[in-house]
């Protein structure tokens, strides 16, 4: 049983949520009182709030919006800032958090992405970065290209940890070099025009640790390697690897414990060599 500050058994605890009704409205804090149960996770707390639809003052309120998918820490959709630290809410156990922090649970949306509503943010920049650095093996074509080259055991073992990324955005939220990019929609714009403008804006800014890591993953794949030069071009483009300032928060917060700073260092080396080769040899792609 969890004890409160007075050493009594905890019967209820406070949840403070940073809420925001729409992308362009002001955010505000709302508190909720949740009856204590053992083994809650943050998602079940949010379900509790939706069920009560009453805040701590007893006023009725709208349910808090949040996102989730897998509920087992593999999709990344439920990522939010919990007591000041970014993590997945589905795997965040209330008992552990209350143990560290007396009686209060603070939930905030990630600060580096535009808020859609309450705890739901627009993570499209995470995926745009994967497009930019071509995080795939290029095998599309009109005819069967046959089996790819075999991968040796050692390379597989090195690649596997890098492939565990779920594009959650924790590494980006914690990165001091990754700043929020929010594009406002103009009234006379079509969906496509807005999308293009948004992507152009994303492309000017830092791609982030996850994308650098994926570039290294696909550049180490025997088939993926075929376009390694294009990936390094993307990594040395505006907003590329040069923005990283080596704070190493990314690797500290990654829930999949991906060796991000090793990927960043390897990408830094490969990018420099690629640029020098291109400068001295116009045939280099």
């Amino acid at each position: 049983m969890i004890k409160n500050v007075y050493g009594e058994n905890l019967t209820s605890f406070t949840v403070k949520v940073r809420r925001q009704a729409s992308p362009d409205s002001q955010s505000y804090w709302e508190a909720f009182n949740i009856p204590y149960q053992a083994d809650l996770n943050v998602i079940s707390v949010l379900q509790q709030i939706a069920k009560m639809s009453k805040n701590a003052k007893g006023e009725s309120t709208t349910p808090v919006a949040w996102d989730c998918g897998c509920l087992e820490e593999v999709c990344g959709a439920c990522t939010m800032v919990i007591n000041g630290r970014v993590r997945q809410s589905c795997s965040a156990l209330v008992d552990n958090i209350l143990d560290e922090n007396n009686d209060v649970l603070r939930l905030e949306p990630m600060s580096k992405f535009p808020v859609i509503r309450d705890l739901v943010v627009d993570r499209s920049r995470v995926f745009r970065a994967l497009q930019k650095i071509k995080a795939w093996v290029p095998v599309d074509g009109y005819y069967d290209m046959g089996a790819g080259p075999k991968q040796d055991r050692k390379r597989q073992e090195q690649a596997y940890p890098l492939s565990e990324c779920m594009s959650c955005g924790c590494c980006l939220e914690a990165c001091p070099q990754y700043l929020k990019v929010e594009t406002q929609r103009e009234s006379d714009e079509t969906d496509e025009q807005f999308e293009d403008r948004k992507n152009a804006e994303y492309d000017k800014n830092f791609v982030g640790a996850h994308a650098i890591n994926q570039a290294m993953l696909f550049n180490s794949n025997p088939t993926g390697k075929m376009i390694s030069g294009e990936r390094l071009d993307a990594l040395t483009d505006e907003g590329g690897i040069q923005i990283c300032g080596n704070a190493q928060n990314c690797v500290a917060v990654c829930p999949k414990e991906i060796p991000l700073t090793t990927s960043i260092a390897k990408a830094g080396r490969a990018a420099t060599i690629h640029k020098i080769k291109k400068f001295f040899d116009s045939n280099e792609k």
């Binding site: 914690a174 505006e238 704070a247 928060n249 500290a252 917060v253 700073t261 260092a265 830094g268």
Partner: protein, 272 residues
């Protein structure tokens, strides 16, 4: 919309950042180490230090090319772009108080301290510009203290002018040394020299060693100048000046002597 100037920076962002990284070590960091080692030679005596300064000034008419090409311009580029980099980031050590994150933040703080310190230091010793009216003005406000042919005595006097001076210099130098040592560590990641966490840990130890070594050199120089008998040093420097001019080791140039030393030499000449 974008001016072509900001477009230029954007298009060459990678190259500029790599040059920024490189310039921190070469030439700026390397110069800093040589500079501190030169200064520490004061512990060996007035003669050692004065001879090293003679050597530097033996470049004569091309000295300014070396000063601007290898020291001032690279430093101004590194510092100027450093400020741009700092403005494009948002520290979050209160939320994520990891050691590496603090080191990242300290790199930026010490960069700013280094900027203020070096700006003052160059004004204090060198005077920024060697143009007539400016030099007179700088002298009048207690700046432009260093005279290359009275190297030890003028540097010593500048250091001993108030008790705050050595304290201020110590803080400034410590910031520069941290910035260099931690900068070499981040450089190793930026250029992909140390990649794995184990290698980065070993590199941290090596860089701390480098920082410790440079700091000992710096403290030696500081102690040397703070404890120098500047009157005796000046006498010796005047002797050295006259002898060195006689044997052709240096070219006569009274501008490079301090004002009191110039007066003393004149007085002696009159007596003869």
């Amino acid at each position: 919309m974008d001016s072509s100037e900001t477009n230029f920076f954007r298009k060459h962002e990678f190259l500029i950042r790599r040059l920024h990284s490189l310039s921190g070590l070469l030439p700026v960091g390397a110069y800093m180490i040589v500079h501190l080692l030169t200064n520490a030679s004061i512990l060996n005596g007035v003669e050692s230090f004065q001879n090293l300064v003679y050597q530097i000034h033996s470049l004569g008419k091309i000295l300014w090319i070396v000063e601007w090409g290898f020291i001032f311009l690279p430093l101004l580029f590194h510092a100027g772009f450093g400020v741009v980099i700092i403005m494009g980031s948002k520290s979050n050590t209160s939320q994520y108080s990891y050691v590496a994150n603090w080191r990242y933040r300290m790199q930026r703080i010490t960069g700013m301290v280094a900027l203020l310190f070096i700006g003052f230091h160059v004004l204090h010793m060198h005077g920024w510009f060697h143009v007539g009216f400016w030099k007179t003005f700088a002298h009048a406000i207690g700046m432009a203290q260093f005279s290359p042919y009275n190297a030890a005595s003028t540097a010593g006097e500048a250091m001993q002018s108030t008790i705050l001076m050595p304290v201020f210099y110590f803080v400034g130098i410590a910031a520069c040394v941290y910035h260099l040592a931690n900068g070499v560590w981040t450089m190793g990641i930026t250029w992909g020299v140390w990649t794995t966490p184990q290698a980065q840990k070993r590199a941290t130890i090596a860089c701390a060693g480098l920082g410790g070594f440079v700091m000992i050199v710096a403290i030696s120089a500081l102690v040397g100048f703070c404890t120098l008998d500047t009157d005796k040093a000046q006498e010796r420097e005047i002797e050295m000046y006259q002898e060195s001019v006689n044997v052709g080791r240096i070219i006569e140039n009274e501008e490079k002597l301090s004002k009191p030393a110039q007066k003393k030499i004149k007085r002696e000449r009159r007596r003869k």
